[in-house]
Amino acid sequence: MNRKLYRAWLTLPALAVTLGLAAPLATAETPEEKGRAIFEEADRRNDGFGDNQGDMLMILKNKRENTSEREMSVQGLEGKNGEGDKTMMVFLSPKDQKGTALLTYQHKDRDDDQWLYLPALKRVKKIASSKKSGPFMGSEFSFEDIGGQQVDDYTYKYLRDEQVDGQDCFVVESYPKDKNSGYTKVITWVDKQHYRTLKADFYDRKNSHLKTLVAKDFNLYLEKFWRPHEMEMVNHQTGRSTVLKQNNIKFNVGLSDDDFTQNSLKRAR
């Protein structure tokens, strides 16, 4: 368990995606510039969330539709003065994992710092940050899917406009720069009105279609931040899938740096 955290669920509208600049400008852009502009706008629209918290339920399904569940609670604090965000994730179930907690300091210019607390040993372990493509907690989401990506982590190419469930979307292809990424490309459908990721297709290192993400049940918070209450990731190669549900999302709950120290990691519940 580790690596780039969960801020994504709470802070970014799923995979760090969104829209380009206003339409008039778009005419003069190359597809690469337009693609990047879409993601820059997505990033910009998420500025100023302050702090937030929420509960997550992850439902893992295998080919025979057997399911297992994991529950987590997550708190996030937006970075100030150019610093990255801080995230605390606590595992509530399965019961043998209860009290296991993960603290992440995101950094814009270097690898994130991450610490894992193991309650049975009362031990805090620092975690290496080079793990990206592995599955998160046995789910179909990988660490890089849910990590707080930066716009600069990818290059982009705008492909076309297309509708998803009757909503007009931009379709953008992005290519990870990091050689540790599990993908050669990701195709993302971003809705034109709110710059939310509605759907994404992931291609593995052999460039074959690996997974599809669908986000739905979006709710608006503080009249500004859209959050999907349900996301489903389907793995086409294994037939497995994971549903991730978010509940009790709250903004401005009064969190501060003191809630994101190794001391708070040890008493997280």
Partner: protein, 467 residues
């Protein structure tokens, strides 16, 4: 069995007595219970050297109560523990692992009650980790709850922790019918104290931890109090020969360093110890490398290598004085959180080796199965054929009977008296005398420490239910 130091009660009274029911109400009303029960089965490859059974079953109960109040600024955790063992009455025991109140302020925390504290970085041994006593009957790394008061300050320069340790707890040891024990049983009920050490000792500890660079973390610690690790002496009772644990004070300065970059981790723990018996230094240096998504699977593998060193060399009480530890941890990243850990401890000087394999996996969401196997691969030869004179000589020149604890002249006088009373024949005929000396000599042979456990290869299966 267990006991509470008197200070336990002072502490608990201090925490609660001054406050009226108003304070206790949220503690009792708003909490929630959880817990786990473990059923354990151990099977040993050989019958016990001293007639112990080849198998043992054991039940473990652990409750957990947690309450939060005062807008989450106050919390209380209670963690009672009981183990029932089929064979070893010393392993049947109870403990309060935790009864801890925490108050959180701005950039500080006050913790009071009973708890366990972990310090350190390395995997094969834990040199700097000194706050708690080991619950040795329960496992190599299990700890007894320590009564304490801890002030923790979060500052720009790192986290500063001050500990006042109220009372000292004695180590638990397997009994006569238990396995994984020394040839002579340790008389845990009659522990002795040297100098000013004692059960009611008030000890002090301090730790400062901070990152030095983006990749390097550091912690500096200080401990002054009763050494949790005893030295041993013989009770000189040949009809009921036992080892007596001796506890004494020590002052320890500890340093931890951990450097993490990409898949690499370099870890260091070093201690400098001053005590009544023998000042010493010890250090462990470890390097780890992690391979993620092994062969395009979901499995991660971390390879661990550590070197352990102790300036006391073979007179160190443990057997990790100049040893190499090798380990491989496989994390399957599956829905069952399956892991496997393979480990090998190797002493290059004596070629003693211990290999272990541990695995665990969850099933039916509330159950877990843990499997462990441990094998002593290179065994020493118990030197039972030596003559009594040779045994006595080896014993007299060994470090087991430490000068500070038992004077050598005393041993010689004792044996001379014994011969005067019973005649010389006691050295050869007595049923207890010669075997007891032989076992003592085995204990004193520092180069063959593992020979003590030579018939204790075992597998252990534990089924755990969480509720």
């Amino acid at each position: 069995m267990y006991w509470f130091p008197r200070s336990y009660f002072f502490l608990i009274s201090a925490l609660f007595a001054g406050q009226a029911y108003g304070f206790l109400a949220p503690l009792l009303d708003q909490g929630e219970w959880g817990g786990e029960t473990g059923f354990e089965f151990r099977y040993f490859d050989d019958p016990g050297e001293f007639g112990q059974e080849q198998y043992a079953t054991s039940l473990r109960f652990q409750g957990e109560y947690h309450a939060l109040w005062n807008e989450d600024q106050d919390s209380f955790t209670f963690l009672p523990f009981v183990r029932l063992d089929q064979q070893d009455e010393e392993r049947t025991h109870a403990d309060i692992r935790e009864a801890l109140w925490i108050h959180v302020g701005d950039s500080w925390e006050l913790r009071g009650g009973v708890t366990r504290v972990f310090w350190g970085r390395t995997e094969f041994n834990h040199l700097v980790d000194v706050i708690n006593q080991l619950d040795l009957v329960d496992g190599d790394e299990e700890k007894l709850g320590q009564p304490l008061l801890n002030l923790s300050l979060v500052h720009d320069w790192g986290i500063f922790d001050f500990y006042f340790l109220m009372g000292f707890r004695e180590r638990t040891f397997p009994g006569e019918d238990g396995r994984l024990r020394t040839p002579l049983v340790v008389d845990a009920d009659n522990a002795q104290y040297l100098g000013s050490a004692g059960k009611d000792s008030m000890d002090f500890a301090f730790r400062w931890q901070r990152p030095l660079t983006d990749e390097l973390e550091m912690a500096l610690s200080l401990f002054s109090g009763v050494d949790r690790e005893p030295t041993y002496s013989f009770n000189f009772n040949f009809s009921d020969p036992m080892l007596v644990p001796y506890y004494s004070n020590k002052t320890q300065v500890g340093l931890e360093l951990e450097y993490i970059y990409e898949g690499w981790a370099v870890k260091f723990e070093g201690i400098d110890v001053t005590n009544l018996i023998q000042d010493y230094n010890a250090a462990t240096l470890g390097v780890e490398y992690s391979f993620y998504s092994l062969f395009d699977s979901n499995v991660d593998m971390t390879f661990i290598t550590e070197y352990m060193w102790d300036s006391r060399d073979e007179t160190a009480p443990g057997f990790l004085e100049h040893d190499v530890g090798l380990g491989a941890r496989f994390t399957f990243n599956d829905e069952f959180d399956s892991t496997i850990l393979a480990g090998l401890l190797w002493d290059p000087e004596t070629d003693e080796k211990v290999a272990s394999l541990e695995g665990e996996r969850r099933f039916f969401s509330d159950f877990k199965v843990k499997l462990m196997a441990r094998v002593m691969m290179e065994r020493g030869q118990p030197q039972v054929d030596d003559s009594t004179i040779a045994i006595l000589n080896a014993l007299a020149s060994s470090n087991l009977l430490n000068d500070e604890i038992v004077d050598r002249a005393f041993i010689i006088d004792f044996i001379v008296d014994l011969i005067r009373e019973n005649g010389l024949s006691i050295l050869f005929e007595n049923e207890q005398f010669v075997p007891a000396l032989q076992q003592l000599q085995r204990l004193a042979n520092a180069n063959r420490k593992l020979s003590l456990l030579e018939s204790d290869d075992y597998i252990q299966l534990e089924l755990i239910y969480y509720y």
